[in-house]
Homo-oligomer: 394 residues x 2
């Protein structure tokens, strides 16, 4: 008899690689050290956007006695977002399609709770976001993993199709994709939709799609973005302001139901958002952050500066002989280690005060991820270390 | 085959009575109307505490580049709270015992996830907080309900003991108790601890206690407070700042592990808080609210003003012939309807612009709850309506 629940232990176990890296590795020891060049996580390395600070201060001033009363899916931010997201994605969202959440984590937790029962299977692609597996496990669902395909990490439609069983209820697509930086284009998404349509018919139950899009606004080279919600009607979107504002500590996002969903199904989702959000742990954003949504919707980190960091690092890494996947979106650079000994490489960089995210943490040993949220100064300081380690590995 | 998960539907179903009351009743139609005397929920009816506004504005100013970076159980607020809660409850909390959460909802969700597996039973008392059942159901756990005992709504120890089965894993105690206003004293809690100790031995697994204490600071007549965590070592505490600050929209609270828990068990809880909080949906308070904890810890609504409202209303209700349970804590008055027709009484009050929480919403038909967070002006305006309805019912 275990002291705590089996599902909490299983979630902790599937999260332990990342947790160990974060708290107990050489990175854990040095992550507060200003001397290091920190390319690990998508955290800010420059001061917050002034617009965010201004919005918080302005919205802290109460306009009425209900200013800090219980807030759920409030009418004003919902209506505002329905319009804004409709304009952005070319879909006709109703306010009732939008569930306001404390970031994408909560949106994903609500989606899992809404569509998955205990024992249901959810498919996601490797390399994955760190937390899908732990969150599914904690929700008594069964994580099913399919590798992305080929050198460019495309969706493996045949692999996804083969992984579908009568228990499959959800397929997760993360686009723009963390960590590879890929943006899945309309043709791939259409082919995925056809696969899911055929598979749903085959197994006799509807397979839903969760489109996890927190990096949707962070794109390079003028690329467009197509949401899977515009292609496959049974799609839920999870979104966070944490990336585009580079303020992941402020917990603001939403879950949105595709307006293409047949009306009767869509109504059932709309009608059950509130109770599910409550039951997951009242994961509505706090009052202040709800008021700030109109202020924050058009704020963004400097994408041009991000592009310059991408270009400088890509150029240096390619020049040193690294295999770099050119990112189309996100703020990550995804690269191959110079040889098979990922940790020797990682330790060599760490010896030089440069910290990247090692592939084994992302279930893709032999690769590493660079977060371009590091400062320009860190980028410049790190290039000699990357160059030295390329030679060491060659 | 249902469109959404069976557990989401079940949670929504067990929450539907409250949801219907809130959104679709005569109260739902009029809850924004300034003409009504609103005694339904524990929401503010006066402007927020200036100290809260000041704290938010001050803490919005970034001190460093990490100001709005990812925050988990941050060292400073954890250490601050370990000291503060130790002083308050007379227990020796370590920082590692404290899980910072977005209010008590999230603390409860984390507690459920930590100790309950699918099919495990959790016992709570009626009348209950509205959301235990839906949250348990959504977590695939089994809610088991035991009525509070007698005219004073004491814990029914024999009833709890009889409800314990080999699948029982958790007993929830809410003290001070919503809606009755009771504070369970040391002797009752000691007897409960003995019951749980014996029952744990009998069934061969440890039964945990969740002490849900969001009203802990709101007490009348100089009464003390004993946390069950000081009596039964296998206790988790859920706490929220939402009540004492009357700012439930700002989502700040914590889950705390009793320092009396045997060291090896306590360590397992400490070590698994982080992953469980992540898996529930990253339910850490946002950065801003974490910084504000030291500012907020000693802020409170005006308990003297609350006491005056309690006294004025109690006096008027008793004078009119109502059966009122004198509240020891919380900001509620719990009363019997004048006759068996609860909804006729409720509608009579509503006809007079007075809205209370009807008993059937709390699984205790024939009673009603008055929230003393209503303004003094509402209290005065409502008294003739209560008096009229007492006569109507008599």
């Amino acid at each position: 008899m275990s002291v705590i629940s089996k599902r909490a232990l299983a979630a902790a176990s599937s999260f332990s690689t990342l947790e160990n890296f974060y708290f107990h590795s050489r990175y854990g020891e040095r992550r507060e050290d200003p001397q290091i060049c920190d390319f690990t996580f998508g955290n800010p390395h420059e001061f917050p956007l002034q617009g965010l600070v201004d919005a918080i201060q302005a919205r802290a001033v109460p306009h009425n006695k209900d200013w800090f009363a219980y807030k759920t899916n409030e009418l004003e931010p919902r209506a505002f977002l329905a319009k804004a997201v409709s304009d952005e994605l070319g879909l006709a969202f109703q306010p009732e399609d939008i569930a306001l959440t404390t970031g994408a984590f909560a949106a994903i937790a609500v989606a899992f709770r809404l569509v998955l029962d205990a024992g249901d299977e959810a498919i996601f692609s490797l390399p994955p976001w760190f937390c899908y597996e732990a969150m599914l496990t904690a929700a008594d669902a069964v994580p099913v993993k399919v590798n992305l395909a080929g050198e460019r990490f495309d969706l493996d439609l045949a692999g996804i199709d083969a992984a579908i069983t009568p228990k499959t209820r959800l397929v997760i697509v993360n686009t723009p994709h963390n960590p590879t930086g890929r943006i899945y284009e309309r043709e791939q998404l259409s082919a995925l939709a056809e696969t899911l349509e055929r598979a749903s018919a085959r197994i006799g139950r509807r397979i839903y799609l969760l489109s996890d899009e927190p990096y949707r606004r962070i794109r390079f080279d003028g690329r467009g973005f197509t949401s899977p919600a515009a292609i496959y009607p049974w799609t839920l979107i999870s979104y966070s302001y944490g990336k585009v504002l580079l303020a992941p500590g402020q917990r603001l996002g939403y879950l949105a139901v595709s307006p293409l969903m047949p009306a009767s199904d869509r109504k059932i989702f709309q009608d059950n958002l509130f109770a599910t959000q409550m039951a997951v742990g009242w994961c509505f954003p706090n009052a202040l952050m709800q008021y700030a949504i109109p202020d924050l919707e058009n704020l963004s980190i400097d994408i041009d500066a991000l592009t310059r960091k991408r270009d400088m690092l890509s150029h240096a890494l390619l020049g040193a002989g690294y295999d770099v996947l050119p990112p189309e979106g996100t703020f990550y650079l995804f690269c191959k280690c110079p040889d098979d000994d990922e940790m020797a490489f990682w330790n060599g960089l760490a010896d030089r005060d440069v910290f990247v995210l090692p592939g084994h943490v992302m279930e893709v040993p032999g690769y590493f991820r660079i977060s371009l949220t590091a400062s320009q100064e860190m980028v410049e300081r790190a290039i000699p270390a990357f160059t030295a380690m390329a030679k060491a590995g060659a």
